[in-house]
């Protein structure tokens, strides 16, 4: 694809925004409450599957199916979180990995979820199942309205781009406000030393559960937007590595700075989509099939190097990170 084609960059923007949402969901749990979720992608997958299944198999209206999808993601967060909030952090990491792997295995192997084929196979191999019938007219109407405002740049992807980034922007503002509130102060204290917080009368478990729920809501939202953007999905769209892309975005942005998430998301979007669709030297040396591996290799390398050399990200203060707990 042409690097100067605006349609390409709009798509990159959508991808970046959705990963930004996933990173924000992770931020609530990890950066704010200190809960390391290593299987965050399961929230996205479960929400997307729940929504698609309800629309396709139970004829539920898209809006309610979406709400149910988010509710399912929250339920998963609580299911994995409730036994783990009392445990040391590393156990939660393992529990979340196990939970997300379970969702992946089930979605790949059940007939209900369309198996490896994914959403199009939800009514069996002979039907072509789709969940976007109600979505298309909605997004088209937004596109039409936008076309009045900005002209021919407005495509469906452009509408999606606006939708995703407005959502992300509003949520970022909300979380920034939350972070500076007394609520955010308690969260921060729990992340730093939960016994100290408890000794001052703060109900640590209740706050951790709130973080799990919030992370589930935002993660589920990311999954639903992603499903609506790509139109059909399969288990491959929710690879476990997605969670670590979100970590990478957080690290790019410095882990503890919420406003750095969009910057990290854009950088990641360019890095990721750039290596996927563009073909210039030296990328042209690697053939298209192998480029996926190269892309993941680069992601891994950046993750290692950033964690090793610049754990505070682009904006963080190193001294802050190195203050002993």
């Amino acid at each position: 694809m042409d690097i100067l084609n605006p349609a390409f960059w709009v798509f990159v923007g959508v991808v970046a925004g959705i990963y930004g949402l996933l990173a924000l969901a992770l931020y609530v749990q990890f950066s704010m409450a200190g809960l390391p979720n290593f299987g965050h992608v399961a929230f996205m997958a479960l929400a997307a599957y729940t929504m698609a299944l309800l629309v396709i198999r139970a004829d539920v209206a898209l809006v309610w199916a979406g709400v149910a999808g988010i509710a399912a993601a929250v339920a998963l967060g609580l299911l994995l979180g409730i036994p783990s909030v009392r445990l040391r952090a590393n156990y939660l990491a393992i529990a979340t990995v196990a939970g997300s792997e379970m969702i992946r295995y089930l979605s790949t192997n059940l007939n209900l979820t369309g198996g490896a084929v994914g959403s199009v196979g939800m009514l069996g191999p002979t039907h072509f199942a789709t969940y976007t019938n109600a979505w298309q007219p909605f997004i088209e109407s937004i596109t039409a309205a936008l076309r009045h405002a900005v002209g021919s740049v407005a495509t469906t992807d452009f509408s999606m781009f606006c939708l995703v980034w407005v959502t992300l922007g509003l949520l970022l503002m909300l979380f920034r406000r939350l972070e500076r509130s007394p609520w955010g102060r308690v969260m921060k204290a729990i992340r730093e030393d939960e016994e100290a917080a408890a000794s001052l009368g703060k109900h640590v478990e209740a706050y951790k559960l709130q973080a799990l729920v919030l992370g589930g809501i935002v993660g589920g939202l990311a999954g639903i937007l992603w499903a609506l953007e790509i139109g059909v999905f399969s288990p491959d769209d929710f690879q476990p590595t997605l969670t670590f892309y979100a970590y990478l975005i957080l690290i790019l942005g410095g882990m503890n700075r919420v406003w750095a998430i969009p910057v990290g998301a854009v950088l990641f979007g360019v890095l990721y989509s750039g290596t996927r669709f563009l073909s210039f030297f030296p990328l042209s040396l690697v053939d298209t099939g192998e480029r996926a591996y190269l892309r993941l290799l680069i992601v891994g390398l950046v993750l290692v190097l950033l964690m090793a050399v610049r754990p505070q990200g682009m904006f963080g203060k190193r001294e802050e990170l190195l203050l002993e707990k």
Partner: protein, 259 residues
Amino acid sequence: MTEHALLVDGIVRRFGGVRAVDGASFTVQDGSITGLIGPNGAGKTTVFNIISGFLRADGGAVTFRGRRLDGFPPHRIAQAGLVRTFQAPRILTRMSVLENLMLGGVKQPGERFALACLLGSASRREREVREEAMAVLDLLRLTHLAPAYAGTLSGGQRKLLELGRALMAAPRLLLLDEPLAGVAPALADQLLDHVGTLRKHRGMTILIIEHDMEAVMSICDWVVAMDQGRVIASGTPRQIQTNERVIASYLGTVAAAHV
């Protein structure tokens, strides 16, 4: 002044086969400063952990102002007015000194998610808490450090900050675990002054674990001595200083160490 603020009745705690606390009983009178002394390993900190809910007792009861508190989680105990400090201060190093103090503030509606969404940091209570925190900083003479990361403070300053944070939590009974350990002498005097002032001006009851005998004898009205998980004596500082069992198990060694 005969009312009991705190009644500890026969608490037991085992670790593996060891009885760290073996039926300890004592009372803390309302408005008193009570010292808890004893050699290392006597079970003092374990008693503290049980009172403050960080450890569950295997037996016995803890009653605070007529209310059974044993088995309650730590945050409920703190909310009941029983606030503790830790032997190694547990300050929040990557938060500012001011934030550390404000965290301690009680009755903050903004700590609830829904209100936090609506108000953020702009509320009347938040301003009040900030003022309270500044007043405490003033009292502790740490005002100039308000915006600094707590992690940059010295050991003694950390102790002061933790004391201040506990004060923010509006304690009716303050549990201090070795507040003077590792604190420079000048700062230690300041700390002792604060503790005395708290009782006098705020009517606070204080239970204090401390190894500095001179300090204990000078500020405490009542002293409880422990050894091997049990209370071996309790009385006024003068009585304790002359109690033979206490001298044999503890004061003797302290005296020897000071020669």
